[in-house]
């Protein structure tokens, strides 16, 4: 037997191990998505429908919370501004009445010691 024939004999086709067909068929039945390698599986799961639903819900909740927080801050600022306007009006009112009193006293010809200018505490009342 020459080397060619010996090689043909040595390298003749062989049967695969027992159960090979069943193992391949079983793996072929598994959905391709489940057969993906780890990083592909993770990537697939990241963009799965369920994850997208959760991501959307979280995004909506965040937008609502941020909006509500902004609205609360705006209301607080409004209240503060309103209080400042009321305070300014009261102050202006008390000064006006003081000026009016002075004018009346001067016009009646009396030279009296001018009444004490109202303090900030009195104006506030």
């Amino acid at each position: 037997m020459n080397l060619d024939d010996e090689l043909r004999s040595a390298l003749k086709r062989q049967e695969p191990p027992a159960g090979f067909t069943d193992r391949v068929t079983a793996r072929a039945r598994v959905k391709p998505a489940e057969r993906r390698s780890t990083w592909q599986g993770k990537l697939g799961r990241l963009f799965s429908l369920r994850t997208l639903e959760w991501a959307t819900a979280c995004a909506v909740a965040t937008v609502l919370l941020v909006g509500a927080g902004g609205e609360y801050r705006r209301r607080q600022e409004g209240e503060r501004a309103k209080a400042q306007v009321v305070f300014a009006l009261r102050m202006a009112g008390s000064r006006l009445s003081f000026a009016q009193r002075m004018v009346l006293e001067l016009s009646s010809g009396r030279t009296a010691v001018p009444a004490k200018k109202p303090s900030a505490g009195e104006e506030r009342q």
Partner: protein
């Protein structure tokens, strides 16, 4: 054509070819089965695109060859046995002996990557150099050169062993 029946038929028809190509190249039954399974799973998704039985056979050969080479490169970290380091049996087996076949397979497995695949395709699949060149995407001249050098090396080794057996 992509039905479970069609796939099962192709699997039954070509499993010996695919497994043996990987086995004779890798000289490891477990790795060869892994390669063969992967090749058939890849085929399962592509069966529809393959037009004829000849096309399927050609595709299977090409994919098996390249997957086997990839697998061989992945296990490169493991120590490789050189052709001259293959242990010779104390009493060399006779021609036609299964032990002699086993020894020859080990000698083939110790050949470098490309020449090894050329020898496997030539003697397992009975392909001529032009067909081997097409499967391996290499010039026919290179295939012939690999084949010639591999056969010379294998012949020298076998003759040395036969000579030692006669002494």
């Amino acid at each position: 054509m992509e039905t479970p029946e069609a796939f099962s038929q192709v699997l039954r028809e070509h499993q010996r070819m695919v497994f043996s190509l990987a086995y004779h190249f890798l000289h490891d039954a477990a790795l060869a089965e892994e390669v063969a399974q992967d090749v058939f799973l890849e085929l399962n998704g592509k069966l529809e695109a393959l037009e004829s039985p000849a096309h399927i056979r050609h595709w299977l050969r090409r994919v098996t060859v390249h997957r086997s080479i990839d697998q061989s490169r992945r296990r490169k970290a493991r120590p490789q046995v050189g052709l001259d380091e293959v242990q010779e049996p104390s009493s060399p087996p006779a021609v036609g002996d299964p032990l002699r076949d086993g020894l020859l397979r080990r000698l083939v497995a110790a050949l470098p990557e490309k020449p090894r695949m050329v020898v496997v395709l030539r003697y397992q699949e009975d392909l001529d150099p032009a067909e081997i060149a097409e499967v391996l995407s290499m010039p026919v001249r290179t295939v012939k050169s690999h084949l010639q050098r591999s056969l010379d090396m294998l012949r020298r080794k076998m003759e040395r062993m036969d000579g030692e057996a006669r002494i």
